[in-house]
Symmetry: C2
Subunit: 394 residues, 2 copies
Amino acid sequence: MPINQQSYAYGTQKSSIREIAAYAGERKAQIGAENVFDFSLGNPSVPAPDAVRASIEKSLALPPTQLHGYTPASGLPVARAAVAASLRRRFGEDAARAEDVYLTCGAAASLSISFHALLRAGDEVIVIAPYFPEYRVWIEAAGVTCVEVLADQKTFQIDVAAVERALTPRTRAIIVNSPNNPVGSVYASANLTALADVLRAAEKRLGIEVTLVSDEPYREITYGVEVPWVPALYGRTVVCYSYSKALSLPGERIGWVLVPPTSPEHDELVGAVAGAGRKLGFVCAPALFQRVLVDCVDVPSDVEAYAQNRRALTEGLTRLGYEFVEPDGAFYLWVKALEPNAQAFFERARALELLPVPSDSFGCPGWVRVGYCVSREIIVNSLPAWEKLAQSYR
Amino acid sequence: MPINQQSYAYGTQKSSIREIAAYAGERKAQIGAENVFDFSLGNPSVPAPDAVRASIEKSLALPPTQLHGYTPASGLPVARAAVAASLRRRFGEDAARAEDVYLTCGAAASLSISFHALLRAGDEVIVIAPYFPEYRVWIEAAGVTCVEVLADQKTFQIDVAAVERALTPRTRAIIVNSPNNPVGSVYASANLTALADVLRAAEKRLGIEVTLVSDEPYREITYGVEVPWVPALYGRTVVCYSYSKALSLPGERIGWVLVPPTSPEHDELVGAVAGAGRKLGFVCAPALFQRVLVDCVDVPSDVEAYAQNRRALTEGLTRLGYEFVEPDGAFYLWVKALEPNAQAFFERARALELLPVPSDSFGCPGWVRVGYCVSREIIVNSLPAWEKLAQSYR
C-alpha cells in the first residue's frame, strides 16, 4: 500500500478518550443525554468570557484585509507583546520579552513544534506517567523514543529518583505538565527544584543538556495552590501554553511557545522553533484570535464553576467510600478503581452509564480519570450510579 | 548545540519572498509606502466578502461552548458536508462526499498533511519548476527527496516528456499547482490527460503508483479559462485547497484535503490523512471559520479587481516592451528579466524601488514574479520605474 504506515496507524488506532467520547455520543442519542454520565473529554463546560465576544466584535470593524491577512509567522507584534507583558506582570521582569513568544495553533502545535525544534533522531524524551497520551504520538512523530517514568504513586509529584535512574546519554527533554492531566496535581517548587538539581548534576555526570518542556494549558485552573514558574527554577525550559482551557477556546486553536530569556540556547532555539513551525505547515496562528489575545490575555478564568463541580464530585465520592487524589488544579479527578484492572472497572461503570477513562490510556494501571468539566446536574445525577458501582464490589 | 539543525536552518534561512517583503516594509518606513512598488507577497488585496463578516456575526449568537469547542479532528460534519455539496454542484455527483473532506488550517497544512500521509523515507516527489518554494521545505520535512522538472519554457504547461524522464522506481507523488504560482498558467485538460497517460504507463513499466497532489488555492481566480477537475482525469489524486485567496482569509488558516472517491487507496488514505494531522499537532481547523465555510463556500471571489490589475500591468509592460507569460489565473505576472541573471535584474529594479521576486527562488532562471494583488495606484505609479528599468538595458 503506497501510504505512510505510521500516519495510517495514528489515524485508525483511535485514542481511548476519543473512543469513549464517541460511544457516549451514540449512547446519548439512544437513551437521552441526561441519562449518560459522560466524564470522558476535557472540553471546557464554562463558556468563553464575554470579553472574547466583545473583542471579536471590535475586530470586525477593522478593514478585512488587515484583520484576516497573513500575520508574521511568529504572530502579530502587538499580540506577542501583550502575552509577554502579561507574563512579566505575573512572573517578574525577566520572564519574557515579545521576541521570545511564538504564537501557535494551540498547545498541540506548541508541543509538536517544540519537539521538532529540540529533538534529533535517537533522542529520548521522558514523560511522567500518568500522562496525556498524545505526548507519545508527537514524540514518536519527531522520530524519538518516549520513556515513561511513573509519578510517585502516593503524592503524584514527580518521582525525582526515578527520573534520575531513567536518564541516559540520549535523554534530551522531560515533559512537565502541571497542573497535571489526568491527575490534577500541581508540582511543588521543592519537587521541581529537586528535579532541576538532578538535571544539573547529570549535565556534568552524563554530559547531557536536558530541556524541560513545561506544558501549562491548565495553569489558570487551580484551587488555592500556586503553580511555580518553571524557568525561574531551571533555565533550560521551554513553556507551552494554550487558551483552550483558560479562555474556553479549544476549537479556535490559539496558544504559544515561549523560549524564555533564561534558555542557554535562546537564540538558536528561537530559530529552531520558527523553522519547526514552518516545516510542519503552520503558517501563522489564526489572525482573528491573535487579536483576541491582545484584549483578553489577562481576563480571569471562571475557576469557581469548576471548583463547585470539584466539590460536588469529591464530596459525593468520599461519602461513597471512593479513594481519589485531591486535585490542586485542572478539571479531572483521578479515582482509584475498585479492582486492579482499570479496564474491567470501566466496563462495570459503563454498564451503569458512567463513562470515565481507564488509566491504562495514561500509562498507569488501576485508576480512572473523571473529567468534571461537565454540568453540575450530570455530577449530582451520576452519584446513584457511582453508589451502585461501589455496591457491586462489596 | 542540542537543537534540531534542520529546524534551525528552516527558521533562519528565510525565504527570498519573505526577505524582500521585509525589505519593502523597512523601505516604506523610510521613504513612504506610496514610493515603494512592493510586488513581493501573495497577500490578497481584495477584502473578504461581506458574507464572511455576516457569518461571524451570526455565529456569535451561538452558545460559546458550542461555538468555540473542539470539533472532530476532521471538522464539523456540517462544514464537511457544505464543502462536499459545493464540489458536487461544480464537478459532478461523484466529486466528493462529506466523509472524503478533511478540514485543515489552510493550504500549507493540507500539503504538509498530504505529504506525511502519502510519503515514506526514500520516496521522491516531483515539482514542476518554477514552483512555490515552500513545497521543498514540506517535502524535505517529510524525509523525502524533492525532484525539480522544468515546465515547458514556452507555454509553461507541464513538460510531460520531461516528467516521464524524471520518473524512477522511487517516484511517489507529483505536485500539480494550477492556476500556478508563480506563473499564473492553468494546465489544460489535454496536458493533464497526457500526464495521466504517462503515469498509467509507468505503473506497468516501473511498478510505481504515483499520486497527483493537486494544490488549488487559486482555483477561483481565473480570467476566462476553466480549471480542470484533476480527479476526473486521474483517479489517484489528492486535492489540497484553501480559502486564503478565494475568500481573502489567509491569516485565518482554513482549508481542506480531499481524498476523492476515485482514489484507489481511498480508505487507507483517509486514515493516513487523519493520522498525519494528528501526529503533526493539528487538532482541528479553527472552529469559528469552519462555520464561515458553511455560509460562504459558494460566495464568488472578487476576480474583477484582480482582472483590472492584470490589465493595467500587462498593458503597461507591453507598451514598455517587456515579455511575460499571459496569466490564465492567480495574481502573479511572470516577467522575463532583461538579462539572464534574474538576481542582477532584481538589484537594478530594487534601485528604482521596484520589488518583484527573482525567479531563482522558484527553481528557474531568468524571470521575476510580479504579484499584482496590490492597489491599482501601485501598479499605475510603478510604470515610470519599469520604463527607467527597461531604458537602463538599452
